[in-house]
Structures are given as C-alpha cells and as structure tokens.
C-alpha cells in the first residue's frame, strides 16, 4: 500500500487537533467543564502533551513544504494541511497563531499574567473560528461520507 505522506499527515493532524480541541474547549471556563467531566488537571495535561506533538507536526509540515519548494515541486498536494491558498493557507495561519499564543500562555502563565491573559483571549477566539472552519471543511468534503452501495447482480 503506497499511502501518500500528505494523506497520512492530514489524518494524524485531524486526530491531534480533535484531542486539542476537546481538551481546550472544556477548559475555557466553569460553564464548559461538563464536556470532560470537570477533570481539569488531566485535561490540562493532555492539552499540553498534544500541543507539543502539534508543534512537532507543524515543523515537519513546514520543512516538507520548504524541501518541496527547493526541489521546484509546485504540484498542489490536495490532502496536505498547509499550503499557498484556500483552506490550506487559512489552516496554516490559524495554526501559527494558536501555537504562538499557546506558547505565550504556557511560558508566561507563571510570571506575566497580563501577557498570558491577552494570549488566552486570542487563543480562545481563534479556536472558535478554527472549529467553525473544520465544520465547514467537513461540509465541503461530505462526499467522503457516502457509503458505497453494493451493486446488485442482474
């Protein structure tokens, strides 16, 4: 089976982002905790671990695109998560903003609460926008959900 790199990256990205989203959204505030049964300590831990994995995935994606450009390969990879136009570009920008604000929250939480607070607002609202964009993306690609009917003989 010759599974393409961009196809695999897409689904790894989807799994990691879904875990980040559910853990993140259940930590927004006291009204949101019910999503993961108010276990904020475990949720915070999961969010940080998967955030680290997410940063590594982003670096791998960026380096892959840079090497493709060095080799003058300008073919559009349909499944790749980041790219020059459309939803790929949108995902790239939101990913970078989420990573940067996430890093500020993580690092500055102990010594500069103002910076952490500001980053938290941006991180929260960008993630609402990103979640809406994922719902839109699923709608645009909903043909993937069509279950193939078995052909009846005769």
């Amino acid at each position: 089976m010759n599974a393409r790199f961009d196809f695999i990256m897409h689904w790894i990205w989807a799994i990691v982002w879904s875990l980040l989203a559910i853990s993140g959204f259940s930590m927004v505030g006291a009204k949101h905790g019910w999503l993961l049964n108010f276990d904020y300590a475990l949720v915070d831990y999961i969010h940080r671990i998967f955030a680290t994995i997410f940063v590594i995935l982003t670096f791998i994606s960026i380096f892959y695109e840079v090497f493709r450009n060095i080799k003058n390969d300008s073919k559009k990879l349909a499944w790749f998560v980041i790219g020059r136009s459309g939803y790929q570009l949108f995902t790239f920008i939101t990913t970078l903003i989420l990573i940067m604000t996430g890093a500020i929250i993580w690092i500055c939480n102990e010594f500069d609460i103002v910076a952490a607070g500001f980053a938290l607002i941006i991180h929260e609202y960008i993630s609402y926008i990103a979640l809406s964009s994922v719902i839109w993306h699923i709608y645009k690609k909903c043909h993937a959900l069509i279950w193939p009917k078995k052909k009846v003989e005769g």
């Binding site: 879904s18 009204k31 949101h32």
Partner: protein
Amino acid sequence: MLQKPWYKIFVWFVASFFFFLAAGVIISILRPGPTEAEVMKFMEAMMKAMDTSMMGIAMNLENDSELKNIILFSSSLTLPIVIISSIIGFLIRLVKRGDRNV
C-alpha cells in the same frame, strides 16, 4: 483505501466527533451561568492542575533525587538511539530514492 469500510467508519467517527464538539461548545456558551459548585470545581481544579503541570512536576522532580537519576540515565540512552536511528533512516531514503516504495 478511500472506499474501504474501516476508513469510511473512521471518517464518519471524526465527522461526528467534530459536530458533537461544536454542539457542546455552543451549548456551553449559551447555557445559563455556572453554579457556585461549578465555579468552585473550576478554581480547585485549576489549582490542582498546577501540581500536575510541567511546572508542578518539575518542582516535585527537584525534590526526588532517585527519580531524577532514573530520568537522566534513561534519556542519555534514549536520545542517542533516536538520533542515530533517524540519521540511518534518512540515509536509507537517500540511497533508495529511486525506489517508489521507500
């Protein structure tokens, strides 16, 4: 692969997951304010989260010399193995770059 049943089930699962998550977020935003019990739970859990956060773990690790030694020893074994195997992997890809299945 796109037509295999397990892949279809996986795609359905991920799509449903995101729709439920979006519904959960909208419900959380639009529901009436948190009860005092929920606010207490939130504040308690955020304090507990400090203990299990990287900062909290680092603080507890500093006080436990045995655990610190285990971590230092095991990472001094693991990191060279990971780096060397990654380099070997890249070398194999370089040598076999003509082969479509590498």
